[in-house]
Structure formats: C-alpha cells, structure tokens
C-alpha cells in the first residue's frame, strides 16, 4: 500500500511539472495556432536566472524569483518580436521551425555563456519533506502541485471571465475577424508570449531544486509536456493538466511494475494511442475548424 501511494505521489508531482509546462504550450497555441517548441527553454532560462541571481549574486530567494519572472516577461516580448512577429503572415510551419531554431540557439547560448557543468538550486522551503506512514512527501513537489493548481485556476478565470482573455480567444479563433472588431491582434499576441514566458520561467524556478539546472533540462520536460498537451487536447487548459498528471502517473507506475528502462516509452505509447484513436485529445477542441 505504502509502495503504491509513494508511486502515486511521485507520479502526480512529476505530472504537475509536465502540466505546468503544457499550460504554456496551450496558451500560445490558442493565441497563434502554432506550437512553441522553445517553451521548455523558457523553463531552462528561468532556472539559470535563479542560479545567477540567488547563488552567484546571493540575492534573497523571493527577490530572485520576482526578478527572474520580470526578466522572462521581457524575454517573452523579445521572443515574440524576433521569432514569431516577422513570420506572422506565413503558415504555421515556418513559425514552428523558427521556434525550434530559437530553442537550439537558447540552449547553446546558455551553454557558451555558463558552461556545461550542472548547477543546483536549494528549495525555497528549508524542510526537505515529511513522512506519513511509509510515504515520503517531498515539499518541493507539494509546492509544485499547489502552484500548478493556482495557475490553472487563474488561467481559466483569465480566459473565460475577463474581457482581455476573451479578446485573446477571439484572436486565436480568427485573427481577421478579431481585428475587424477592433481587437488589437498584435498586442494580444504580444501579451500571450509574455505571459507564457512567465509561466515557463515559473516552471523552471519550481523544478530546479528537484531536477537540478542543466542546459537540456527544458527540452526533456517539454517533450513530455507536448505529449501531455496532445493527450489532454491542445487548446484546452483542463486537458493540459489532466494530460500532464495522467502521463506522470502512467510512467511512474509503468516504470515500477513493468520496466524502468522503458519508462519514456510508456509516455510516448500513450501519445501514440491517442494520436491514433483520439487525435483531438480527451477534451478535444471546441472549435474544430480554424481558419
């Protein structure tokens, strides 16, 4: 029993990391209809920014988080101007390739600037965790879980209950129509990139104490988060979180009961099954056909 509960807790913890990054994927997808393959690298940048601020410059942890998030919001704007905006009138393919290029550039840029040595970041909570019965609860995973739930709730309220969220949705569904209605499309997309860079950076800040800080950390999480977005249904916030959690739990139990070396295979097997049988994901897209 303790064995399974431990696996469940870890699976949900890992899954919420995937979900957090998946949220960023979904957000940009909803606004621009393209998948941002540099989303994982936003997390990597956030983690490295924390290492530089909190460890190299020895700033207080909370202040470092705030500066990191501000930096990432700015970076999201730059990313939009450099990677998406010049290609906005092209089809989705050049944009996707552009984000892949940005991802490679970011990883190698950080590698050249900071070197290949992995870094560690302490947790924001000094207590490493607590045990209930046989099950160990890692505090950082608990924090990740809570933050993910909060961010999902905020995102839901933002999109469904605020005017600007609705404007962003309209932009995502039909840019021409939206602009005819007087919605500043370019600004909406700019805000989307800034917010999703912030989300990615937040994921990096939260994940760094658990996974350590390496140049490749973002892309390995992003691959799973991408799978989670497809399983949950690209374009649906609830779907991303359910997909992420399901993926985390499936791969953790698969590893424990079937085979550890094939752990990554379980995630992509689930992805494969979904692509084959239900390509629209668990929740599907509410607007099936997009212009």
């Amino acid at each position: 029993m303790g064995f399974n509960l431990q696996l469940l807790f870890t699976g949900v913890g890992v899954g919420s990391i995937y979900a957090l990054v998946a949220l960023g994927f979904v957000l940009i997808y909803r606004a621009t209809n393209v998948v941002n393959f540099a989303q994982g690298d936003f997390a990597m940048l956030g983690a490295f920014a924390m290492v530089v601020l909190a460890i190299d410059f020895e700033l207080p942890y909370g202040l470092s988080i705030i500066i990191t998030l501000v930096l990432l919001v700015g970076f999201g704007a730059l990313f939009n101007l450099g990677v998406y905006y010049p290609l906005r009138r092209r089809s989705f393919l050049p944009v996707i390739i552009s984000t892949i290029g940005a991802s490679i550039l970011l990883e190698n840029g950080v590698l050249a600037a900071y070197g290949p040595r992995p870094q560690s970041l302490p947790s924001m909570i000094a207590v490493p965790g607590f045990s209930i019965g046989e099950v160990f609860f890692d505090t950082q995973y608990v924090v990740i879980l809570v933050v993910t739930v909060v961010m999902v709730a905020l995102q839901y309220i933002f999109f469904e209950r605020t005017l600007i969220g609705k404007k962003m949705q309209a932009t995502s569904q039909d840019k021409e129509m939206a602009s005819l209605l007087g919605i500043p499309v370019a600004l909406m997309i700019m805000i989307t990139f800034m917010y999703s860079a912030l989300l990615g950076g937040l994921a990096g800040v939260l994940v760094a104490p658990v996974l350590f800080v390496t140049v490749g950390m973002g892309s390995s999480i992003a691959l799973k988060a991408f799978a989670a977005s497809i399983i949950g249904g690209f374009g649906d916030v609830t779907g991303a979180i359910i997909g992420g959690l399901a993926l985390g739990v499936i791969e953790t139990f698969g590893a424990a009961y079937v085979s550890v070396p094939y752990k990554d295979a379980f995630a992509f097997l689930v992805l494969f099954v979904f692509l084959l049988l239900r390509p629209q994901g668990i929740f599907g897209e509410r607007i099936a056909e997009k212009a």
């Binding site: 431990q6 913890g13 992995p118 560690s120 350590f212 390995s220 999480i221 424990a256």
Partner: protein, 378 residues
C-alpha cells in the same frame, strides 16, 4: 620609410632563421601530442597538455633523453573523431616524431587506431575501453586502468573489505553503464555472488522513485552503480535517502566528481567510489599534485595525471632502448615493471595495459578521502 620597414623585416627574418638553426643544433626529440584544445572536451585538453608539459620540463631539467631535450608538438583534435584523425595524420607526416601521446576518449582512439597501426609507432593512450588494447593493435599503450578493473575493484572492495554479500546494481542503459553492469555481474560471479537486483534506467530521468523503491524492496545491503550523468545520480541519491534506504554504496568514478558532490550534497555522504587518480593514493601522486598546483595554480585531475605519467614512462623507455627505433621503444615500454607513477604502479602486460587496479575513495561528509588501492596481477 618603406625601405626602413623592409630592412627591419629582413633583420627580423634573419634573426628568426638564426633562432631556428640554434634550435636545430640542440636537436630535440619531438613527441607528437593529440589533445582536445577546442570543442566540448577543451577543459580536459588543458589538463592533458599541462600534465605532459610538466613532465617534459622535469625530463629536460634532468638532462633530457639520450642527451637530447624533449619537445612536445601539440595538435588540436577538436574533441571529434574526424578531428583526431586529421590531427594525428598531420603529426604522423613528420618523420622526426618517434612516438605520440593520444587522446583520453575511447571513441576517438578507436577512430585513429587504424592510422597508428599503419604508421607503426608507439601511441600512449588514456581511453578505458578494454577493447583498445585487445584488438591486435600492438602500438597502443594505456596509462589508465581499463574498465574491466573498475568492476572487479568494486566487487572486491564490497565483498572482501565491507563484507557485504547482498548486492544491488543500478546502471545507466547507455554503452558505459551497460558495459559496467556486465563487468560487475561477472566480477561478482567470480566471488560466487548473484546480485539481488540489476536495475537499468534511461539517462536524464526526471524521477528515480521506482528505482529507489526497487533497491529498497530487494533488501540489498550494498549497491554498485554505473551512472553516467551527475544530475541523474543526484536525483537518485536524494530520493534513495528520502525513502529511508541506507545501504553501502560503491560507485563508478562519476560518484565523486566535483559536480556530483555539489549536486547531491549530503545524500552521497558515506559512499565509496573507484577512481584512477587520487592525490593521496601514493607519494608520487602527492608530489605530482603539489608540482602541478605550483605550476598552474589549480589542482590536477585524471586528465592531467595520465599524460604526465605517459611522457615519463615513454622517456624512460627511449632511454633504456637507447634508440628511437619504434620496435625497440615498444619492447622497452612492454618491459616496464614497477614504475611508480601518479596514477599507480605501472606493470605493462603483453597487451599494452600499464595499470591493473583502482583507488577506492570515500565521500567523508563532502570531502573525498583516499581509502585503499586494489591491484590485480592479471
């Protein structure tokens, strides 16, 4: 104005030619060296060339070899296989070079090995893939213990010194980890032990809970590991301790790298590891480390110690062969027995392996201390 400049250039050229002739008059013995000066291995290349330069200075201060000074001719291999082949063929074209120092990475040595065989001159290497000296190439001489010894030392230390019989093996599923696991299973079989758990994992796993739980459930009292990347090792070590597993741990050299110590912190306290170079393992190592620090203002590591030893052994071999003839130098290297180097005691076997054992070190609350050296006769 222009003619003045031309005259100055002429004088400079003449001076350079005089300098060149002077150098020729001293007639140094050139030793070719292939090292990663650029690319991902650049950091290790710096150690490697500095170790060799330190040895060359010592040899020349003591009168050189056959009455002639040694001169290192270094070519950059760019840390790539094509780079190694290019660099080596450039050096091989110089008929005045009687012997070479090669790279430390096994894959690159495999890439240049056919050229070394064709050239027929001795090449000192630092790669630890056992196959390198067992594939019929008589010109490769190894100055680090090969990987089959690390597994034997882990098994020997765990069973005989720690007295543990119930083993768990955790390994990366890449080439390094799988080969290490196979060697360790084999070595334990030699001690009459069947491991309670052999558990592989893919590199860059975000979570090791299933692995840690498997180790816990196996009831093992000692664990041997071949883990490739330090972040994986750090996550595993932390989760293992969190789940309350407190068994003895004897790991591959990754377990005590500076990065591993920093990432895992207290989770790795009390663990053991095999390493080929440790400054406290013997007096020569201690002396080497002190000289290296004095010369380069930073402590040496495994990338520096083997090239230092290799140049010394090569110089001795040329001296005792009294010739630069490749075959005579080859025989002289193979005849080296009981040479005390920084990495250990060199006893060359017929395959060209100089070292046959490893040091065991312990992570004593974050500092790495020398525990013992285990050597084998075969």
């Amino acid at each position: 104005m222009r003619s003045v400049a031309r005259a100055a250039l002429g004088a400079l050229a003449a001076a350079l030619m005089v300098a060149a002739t002077n150098a020729q008059a001293a007639d140094p013995i050139k030793i070719g060296m292939v090292a990663p000066l650029t690319g991902p291995g650049a950091e290790s290349g710096r150690f490697q060339t500095q170790g060799a330069k330190l040895a060359a200075e010592e040899i020349n201060k003591a009168g050189g070899v056959l009455g002639r000074p040694l001169e290192l001719v270094i070519e950059d291999d760019q840390t790539t296989n094509p780079g190694v082949v290019l660099a080596f063929s450039k050096l091989a074209g110089d008929a005045d070079i009687p012997a070479f120092l090669g790279p430390i990475r096994s894959t690159q040595i495999h890439a240049m090995a056919p050229d070394a065989l064709k050239l027929g001159k001795p090449v000192m290497i630092g790669g630890t893939d056992p196959a390198l000296t067992h594939m019929g190439n008589p010109w490769l001489f190894r100055f680090r213990p090969n990987d089959s010894y690390s597994a034997r030392v882990i098994a020997d230390f765990g069973v005989k010194t720690l007295g543990k019989k119930k083993w768990a093996i955790v390994h990366s599923t890449d080439a390094f980890g799988t080969a290490g696991m196979k060697n360790l299973v084999e070595a334990l079989k030699g001690q009459g032990i069947e491991p309670a758990l052999v558990q592989g994992y893919p590199n860059n796993s975000q979570d090791f809970t299933p692995v840690a739980l498997a180790v816990k459930q196996s009831g093992a009292d000692v664990m041997g590991t071949y883990m490739t990347f330090e972040p994986d090792q750090g996550i595993f070590a932390k989760q293992l301790r969190q789940l309350g597993v407190t068994l003895s741990w004897v790991g591959s050299p990754t377990t005590v790298t500076t990065t591993a110590l920093k990432l895992a912190g207290p989770a790795l306290y009390g663990s053991y590891a095999v390493v080929d170079f440790n400054r406290d393992s013997n007096p020569t190592a201690k002396e080497f480390a002190a000289k290296y620090e004095a010369a380069y203002k930073s402590p040496p590591d495994i990338f520096a110690s083997w090239s230092y030893d290799a140049l010394h052994v090569l110089a001795n071999a040329i001296g005792s062969a009294k010739s630069l003839d490749p075959e005579k130098v080859r025989q002289a290297i193979l005849a080296v027995k009981g040479y005390q180097g920084a990495e250990g005691t060199y006893n060359f076997d017929k395959n060209g392996d100089g070292l046959h054992g490893y040091n065991i070190v312990k992570n004593n609350d974050g500092t790495v201390v020398f525990d013992k050296h285990i050597d084998f006769d075969d």
